[in-house]
Amino acid sequence: MSNDLKDHTPAPSGSPGSGPALPVWVFSLTLVLLFLGGVYFDESSGWFNAQVYKPYTDANQLEAYQPVSGAAAIRAQGKLRYDMICAACHGPNGEGKPGQAPPLAGSEWVNDSAHTRLIEIPQLGLNGQVTVEGQSWSLSMAPMGAGLSDSDLAAVLTYVRSSWGNKGDDVSSDDVKTVRGGIAGHPAIPGETGLKAIKE
């Protein structure tokens, strides 16, 4: 018993390589199980993406179901920009800040039926005296919205005009584009007199 390896090798039956044949049903069952496993994997794995949960099957489908269309999305886009840029002075709820910026909530300039003036203010800035809700403000606003794209500025203005009790209609990016084309190179608006001079 010095070389016991021999005991473990299966007894050769016939020629080498023609060992006991695998039954056909085992082979077929393995294939069926592999197929079912593949189907289950495809439906339930989410391709191991941590973002994908039931009922979504993969990242592309999840992407397709992101709510992005319609007025809600525009308001959301506007709120995002407003919170980043405008809210520091005008307040997160458009309430304004004494000595810094007049309120936007309920302001007659915001709720104006035409919106040319409102589109010009963030692009040109506003210097000097202006009356908002019966209160006189004499401040200077930089052209904070000059760097925003047409659609972003339109979204911000739409958001402002439809929030905190304001009842203005929507501002489209085409409106912004038209106004923007007409005021290139203009100086800041000189207060209320300047605002009133803007043709609606």
């Binding site: 941590a50 949960y53 007025a71």
Partner: protein, 284 residues
């Protein structure tokens, strides 16, 4: 040494058993411990869809400690904290008839707008837009838990970012609590419910957690501002009041901090209204 087996043979077998079990355990350790840790171990706060808000907000200190009370009281034995969502559907909502309302309403009579999949919803929306109307596509999660009003979407890993240890639970003797702070957002309601569940929820099978409260005579004759307002059936004897302990307040604060009600990238849906949490709270 039994006859017929040599010393070297045993070593060979043992080595093989060791190697095979090492590989098997190593693979499952990698797949079930390491891989999830790589994916979610560095989980951070995420932003709410279409918003600059961050989710989830860090809990206040008492709510953080309330998790340990939740754990100690064994709430997870009867309550889960994981919402399921079976499906998702799209509803096309008309937001404006445009300049040709006749054409749009003609179209509407032949289109179905509810319970569509994404492609059908998009095509219906495109047709209405082409006719001059304005539409929105609302993403609506469906499934038993949503229908029961337990939450608006399925639970995701972000929901548990501040929970340690996570109290998922597996038995639903009571309702799911993943979004309970939005559904039952009143501090006094939560305390009364802990002291006497049947006082606020008729036919509740929840046991009362009276040890979280003290029944006492008003200290120096001055009633505590925290004392519970209970219906006569559950009220303490005359001259006594029920005052929550710190543990009860922490637990209630923790329950109120459970909000799984905002849309996230991995759980998208269209918010029904601007502030569902607040409108729910007023109902209590």
């Amino acid at each position: 040494m039994s006859p017929g087996i040599e010393r070297g043979e045993i070593v060979n077998t043992g080595c093989r058993i060791f190697l095979v079990s090492f590989v098997a355990l190593g693979l499952s350790w990698g797949a079930f411990v390491i891989a999830p840790a790589i994916q979610l171990g560095t989980q951070k706060q995420t932003s709410v869809l279409n918003s600059s808000e961050i989710y989830p907000e860090q809990r206040p200190g008492d709510a953080t400690m309330g998790l340990q009370v939740y754990r100690r009281a064994g709430c997870a034995a009867c309550h889960t904290m994981q919402l399921q969502q079976d499906g998702v559907q799209c509803d096309v909502v008309i937001t404006g008839m445009g300049k040709t309302p006749g054409a749009v309403s003609n179209l509407l009579s032949s289109l179905s707008l509810k319970s569509l999949d994404k492609d059908d919803a998009q095509s219906a929306s495109d047709q209405i837009t082409a006719a001059g109307g304005k539409t929105e596509i609302h993403i609506v999660p469906t499934g038993g838990d949503v229908a029961r009003g337990w939450g608006s979407r399925h639970s995701v890993s972000e929901d548990f970012l501040w929970d340690y240890p996570v109290q998922l639970g597996s038995v639903r003797m009571g309702p799911d609590l993943a979004d309970v702070g939005s559904r039952l957002g009143s501090f006094s309601w939560q305390l009364e419910h802990l002291y006497a569940p049947q006082a606020v929820t008729k036919n509740s099978t929840m046991p009362p957690f009276r040890y979280l409260f003290v029944v006492q005579k008003p200290v120096n004759g001055v009633p505590s501002p925290d004392a519970l307002q209970l219906p006569a059936q559950f009220a303490p004897p005359a001259g006594y009041e029920v005052v929550p302990t710190m543990a009860a307040k922490k637990l209630a604060a923790y329950l109120l901090s459970l909000h799984a009600n905002v849309p996230l990238h991995d759980a998208p849906f269209t918010m029904a209204s601007a502030a569902p949490a607040k409108s729910q709270a007023k109902k209590q």
